[in-house]
């Protein structure tokens, strides 16, 4: 009887050890960047950042009352280059719908970013900012780029796109926010870290 109890105990431990190992092993490949952002449903970070050309300071709090799209990008990011025309087009198209686009350069020399934007073009309706000390990237919990956040008129983060976004996804997300919906988080593709990071 007692030997049987011990055997059952030993088998239980062995089985649990196996399950334990499998669960832990399965978590090694888990990408924390894909876990839902804790910012969703929270007030957007209020930041003061310099314009990309360094000419003035821009207070993100001034955008409250508008729907705001915050995109983190850099010239070294292939996906960012691919989505750039879509961001410009969507910013222009929604400029009259109380939507403001803010693009924040991520871990890049502002001169390099300015040169890149000269090549690919900008939207007059978009504000381009620098983030020399990564304060905005930290405040938004950026794991890699491109990442795009959506903030409603009340200043609440209501959406996030991880990876490259196109005009249809950007526009449809804005349509849903304008309709009073909460689009949430979606992943469209990979994000990148600076090659030498």
């Amino acid at each position: 009887m007692n030997g049987r109890v011990l055997k059952i105990g030993a088998l239980t431990i062995a089985a649990v050890a196996i399950v334990f190992s499998v669960v832990l092993a399965s978590r090694f490949g888990r990408d924390p960047a894909l876990v839902e952002s804790p910012l969703l449903g929270q007030s957007a970070p209020t930041l003061q950042l310099e314009l990309l050309d360094g000419s003035a300071t821009f207070d993100m709090a001034d955008l409250k009352g508008s729907i705001v799209v915050v995109n983190f990008f850099a010239s070294w990011c292939l996906e960012c280059r691919k989505e750039h025309a879509d961001l410009v087009a969507t910013s222009n198209a929604f400029a009259d719908r109380n939507v403001r686009f803010v693009q924040i350069a991520y871990q890049e020399d502002p001169a390099a970013t300015l040169g890149y934007l000269e090549d690919v073009g900008v939207s007059e309706a978009t504000t381009y900012l620098r983030d020399d000390r990564s304060r905005a990237a930290i405040a938004y919990g950026v794991f890699g780029i491109p990442e795009t956040f959506f903030i409603d008129e009340s200043g609440t983060v209501v959406g996030k796109i991880i990876g490259e976004a196109d005009a249809l996804i950007l526009g449809a997300t804005l349509d849903s926010i304008i309709a009073g919906e909460t689009p949430g988080q979606q992943t469209t593709g990979d994000t990148r870290q600076k090659p030498d990071a």
């Binding site: 007692n2 030997g3 109890v5 011990l6 059952i8 105990g9 030993a10 239980t12 431990i13 089985a15 649990v16 399950v19 334990f20 669960v23 832990l24 978590r27 924390p32 960047a33 894909l34 876990v35 839902e36 952002s37 804790p38 910012l39 025309a85 410009v88 087009a89 969507t90 222009n92 198209a93 719908r97 871990q107 000390r133 990564s134 304060r135 930290i138 405040a139 938004y140 919990g141 794991f143 890699g144 196109d166 005009a167 249809l168 996804i169 950007l170 526009g171 449809a172 997300t173 804005l174 349509d175 304008i178 689009p183 949430g184 988080q185 979606q186 992943t187 870290q193 600076k194 990071a197």
Partner: protein
């Protein structure tokens, strides 16, 4: 050693231990700001690295996070406040000593389970110093106790695993929200404008252009409809059907919007060069001739040409017949 010596030694040992605890406590609570920064930094995982703390990582993000921690320490923020500020944006995935919740529960339960199992084993060995068989009859209760402890430990771990799996499922589900674009009818004009502007080189964009232009046209917004119809009409890759409808709409807008009869007729003739039997092109031309040029004879000719088509839709035939009845009598367009 006498009883009093043992008591004395115990008291001395206790005092030394107490002093040691106090000294360690004092040292721990009087850390320099730099030590605090390092300590906090060592608790936070670098979000862009593999298993390194921000204190150890040379990555730009890690260094910037350390600078932020240093700034917050200098400002007098507590360790927990600083960590919470970072967790507020990054999720618990950046904490190297995770909180007891959700997916981290398993890690915290493991030592507890090990403790229970360990205590069980120790009791077992203490109660069974010799061969198991010799003691079987003597201490069945203790062995049941050991077995029970082991089973309890296993159950606790199973509960932990289940909790992790359930919580992971919830995280995945909540993270899977997507904005669906199943039907262009659900998409705003602004979104369509953005898609078109971002895909000027895409040969398939004419379809969306026409769909958007039709939306504007139907609401009488000729100003916004015009550039899209014009773009399709001038496109070298537009289908005959696309080019025809674009020219017909341009013709109608030229007449209805600006009263330009000649321009309208030219555009409608261009459409008819591409699609000579197009009922819509013929009908609009008949309307422009009748209502714009007051030319009922030519209008009647065009309407008769439409009615000669055998595959005409019934409602179109009915409308054309009605108009022809008027133009053939020289009636004025109203």
């Amino acid at each position: 050693m006498s009883m009093s010596d043992r008591v004395k030694n115990s008291v001395v040992g206790g005092v030394i231990a107490l002093l040691a605890v106090l000294v360690i406590g004092l040292v721990a609570t009087n850390q320099s700001p730099g030590d605090r920064v390092e300590q906090i930094g060592s608790r936070i995982k670098c979000p862009v690295c593999q298993g390194e703390s921000i204190a150890d990582s040379p990555a730009r993000m890690a260094m910037d996070m350390m600078a932020l921690v240093e700034e917050r320490v200098a400002a007098g923020a507590s360790d927990d406040v600083i960590v919470d500020e970072l967790l507020g944006s990054f999720t618990g995935a950046v904490l190297l000593d995770p909180t007891v919740s959700g997916s981290t529960l398993l890690l915290w339960l493991a030592p507890l389970v090990a403790l229970i199992v360990g205590v069980g084993v120790i009791i077992w060995w203490k109660r069974h110093p010799g061969e198991e068989s010799r003691n079987q009859a003597r201490a069945p209760t203790n062995r049941r106790l050991v077995g029970g402890l082991i089973v309890i430990g296993g159950l606790v771990l199973i509960v932990g695993v289940a909790t992790v799996l359930i919580q992971d499922g919830a995280e995945t589900a909540s993270g899977a929200a997507e904005v669906g674009v199943d039907n262009l009818d659900d998409v705003s004009n602004e979104t369509m404008e953005a898609v078109i502007a971002a895909n000027l080189d895409n040969p398939e964009i004419n379809g969306m252009r026409l769909a958007l232009a039709e939306r504007y046209f139907e609401t009488g917004d000729y100003r916004n409809a015009f550039p899209h119809f014009l773009s399709v009409a001038q496109s070298t890759i537009a289908t005959d059907e696309e080019a025809t409808i674009a020219l017909v709409r341009l013709g109608w807008m030229a007449y209805d919007g600006n009263g330009e009869v000649e321009t309208a007729t030219d555009l409608l003739d261009q459409a008819l060069e591409i699609s000579p039997r197009s009922p819509v092109a013929l009908y609009i031309k008949g309307q422009v001739l009748w209502c714009g040029a007051n030319n009922t004879d030519d209008a009647s000719t065009v309407f008769e040409e439409i009615l000669a088509q055998t595959d005409l839709a019934e409602d179109t035939r009915s409308r054309v017949e009605s108009d022809l009845a008027l133009t053939s009598t020289g009636a004025t367009c109203t």
